[in-house]
């Protein structure tokens, strides 16, 4: 009896919520087609020999077997970490230092001016920066080679192949964007710092607490939420990024800057092997998923 009543009321509640369902319908239908269907079909097609023209053919685990015996792919994994980990650390801590510097400015007017200036780099498309850095890294006439010659660190007329030398190229990709302070991360940190009440900061000064100690004991614990946000999304972003390979190095010299996502791109859009590329995507998805869970778990453990 009571369960029937409950059922009744659930149906009635659904009927009462009909406007809500109607309003959500365009979103849900759109997401089903454009955002749910592709990843599911990708997982499914990774077991197929699939290209743009022919009918897909089921090949079982063949794609995965081939993938894990391809040295280009296997070597691309450590390369990815070599590039992603320094970049991630830079993208988390350098903006934090910049935010602390701007936060320490006493004049409110200047502080606002710096906040606007720090955002300025976003006015140029990221691609334009990459193409600019391509010129900066020009082996013979580039800004970096010119500067090193001007400061007499290297002799006049030296050619430094920043992106073509396999011992230098990883460093060059990490160094790109130096001094890495511009962008939205600084502002997000600053908003966290501004939430710290002035009383806390003033009393820390009165107690003779140095700025560095305050940063370590008060600011950092309060910014931990932002740091974790950048850590999780930054890591996911870094793992998948291959714009520099696409524009600057083409994965070279040789295969030295190949990362898994670039490998996938080449297999799909140069070789036309969509099924095989889907298998790469599948493997990367699992890796990213496990890594995210690992970080989230660790985070809970810390709390």
């Amino acid at each position: 009896m009571s369960s029937k009543l409950k059922n009744d009321s659930l149906l009635r509640r659904i009927w009462k919520g009909r406007l809500a369902y109607l309003l959500l319908a365009p979103l849900m239908i759109g997401l089903l087609i454009t955002s749910y269907y592709p990843p599911i079909s990708g997982l499914y097609r990774s077991f197929f020999d699939w290209d743009v023209i022919n009918e897909p053919v089921f090949v079982g685990m063949d794609n995965f077997v081939e993938l894990f015996s391809d040295e280009v792919f296997l070597n691309s994994i450590p390369t990815m970490f070599q590039i992603a980990i320094p970049r991630l650390l830079i993208s988390i801590f350098v903006p934090l230092i910049m935010a602390e510097l701007i936060f320490a400015v006493k004049s409110k007017k200047m502080q606002y001016a710096y906040r606007v200036m720090v955002l300025l780099p976003i006015v140029a498309p990221g691609l334009v920066y990459t193409l600019l850095w391509q010129k900066i890294y020009d082996p013979q006439f580039g800004l970096l080679t010119t500067l090193l010659q001007g400061m007499n660190i290297v002799p006049e007329g030296t050619v430094i192949n920043w992106l073509g030398n396999k011992d230098l190229v990883i460093f060059s990709l990490i160094f790109k964007g130096f001094p890495w302070v511009g962008g939205t991360a600084v502002l997000i940190y600053m908003s966290g710092l501004m939430n710290i009440s002035t009383e806390v900061i003033e009393s820390s000064v009165l107690d003779g607490c140095s700025t560095l100690r305050r940063i370590w004991h008060i600011d950092l614990p309060l910014l931990i939420g932002q740091i974790k946000y950048f850590l999780v999304f930054g890591l996911i972003g870094c793992i998948q990024d291959y714009n520099d390979q696409l524009i600057l190095t083409n994965g070279g010299p040789g295969y030295t800057t190949y990362v898994p996502s670039y490998y996938m791109y080449i297999k799909a859009f140069t070789a036309g092997r969509m099924g095989y590329a889907s298998a790469v995507g599948f493997v990367m998805f699992i890796a990213i998923f496990l890594l995210t869970i690992f970080i989230m778990r660790k985070k809970k453990g810390d709390d």
């Binding site: 919520g17 759109g30 997401l31 140029a124 714009n243």
Partner: protein, 281 residues
């Protein structure tokens, strides 16, 4: 008295050092942009002699030459950008309102179904999405750029908007409902006007995303007249003028101008939105 003075003096020196350090970092950060501007204004000969310092005379014809190619990309980016942003703002704000203010069975489940998509990485969807739009016959049209952007951006936007809408006091909506406001009326007349800053933040970051997108437009569009700005620069322009760096840079400047204007007019909204939402985990 003396002690106070030295303390103040020390304080002032530390502020001077601070300003110097910040100014230096800012200079190094913005120097590539200056480079782009003055190289874009050089003649080809001047570039060959002194590439990294400003020179006279200024060579404005570079911009004209560059615009003949880049203008089309900019037009395409405007079309795609405006359609995508308007679509996302409408769809995401309405959906976020429903999730935030209306009560119905399955609300949390549906919300979770939307938010879970944030965890699906781009590498998993790139290839099958390409095949989907290929099968739908939408390659080489504006639709292949607009449709995925509207729905893809909506996921993050709904998260952003819902967090913001949840923070609005329920009492306003309560009062409006008692006065006979329908839900749609509450959304249009109360929720949206209170949320201009957050809508602006979303619009700006989405436009920046469209401006920056290289991979998707360059694989789904093969007709050079339909490329958006980054894809066009990468696929065609940079190669076409690879031997004439000043024209190349003039093109990069042109490509950045709309974002500069957007920044000049909307940086207040953007900064406000970024600093009030406080992204964190």
């Amino acid at each position: 008295m003396v002690l106070k003075k030295t303390k103040r003096a020390r304080h002032r020196t530390s502020q001077v050092i601070l300003h110097t350090v910040i100014a230096l970092l800012m200079f190094m950060t913005l120097y590539p942009l200056f480079i782009a501007v003055f190289i874009g204004l050089k003649s080809h000969d001047a570039f060959l002699h002194t590439p990294w310092l400003p020179t006279l005379p200024l060579w404005f014809t570079n911009f004209k030459t560059a615009f003949e190619v880049v203008g089309v990309y900019m037009f395409n980016t405007f079309i795609v950008g405006i359609a995508s942003v308007l679509g996302t703002l409408a769809l995401a704000s309405l959906s976020a309102y429903v999730f935030s203010r209306m009560r119905f069975p399955g609300r949390q489940l549906l919300y979770f179904a939307v938010i879970a998509l944030m965890m699906v990485p781009g590498v998993l969807t790139l290839v099958p999405s390409y095949m989907l739009y290929n099968n739908l016959g939408l390659l080489n049209s504006y639709w292949v750029l607009i449709i995925p952007n509207i729905f893809g951006s909506s996921v993050g936007a709904i998260f952003l908007f819902r967090t913001y809408f949840d923070g609005l006091p329920e009492s306003i909506f309560e009062a409006a409902r008692i006065d006979g406001c329908t839900e749609l009326r509450c959304y249009f007349s109360i929720c949206l006007p209170l949320s201009k800053a957050i809508l602006g933040t979303q619009a700006i970051s989405q436009i920046i995303g469209i401006w920056n997108d290289v991979v998707w437009p360059s694989i789904t569009i093969t007709d050079p007249d339909m490329w958006t700005i980054s894809a066009g620069l990468y696929r065609q322009f940079a190669g076409q003028y690879s031997s004439n760096t000043p024209v190349q840079f003039a093109g990069y400047i042109l490509a950045s101008l709309p974002l500069v204007l957007l920044f000049v007019f909307a940086n207040r909204y953007y900064i406000e939105g970024l600093t009030t939402t406080g992204l964190k985990l």
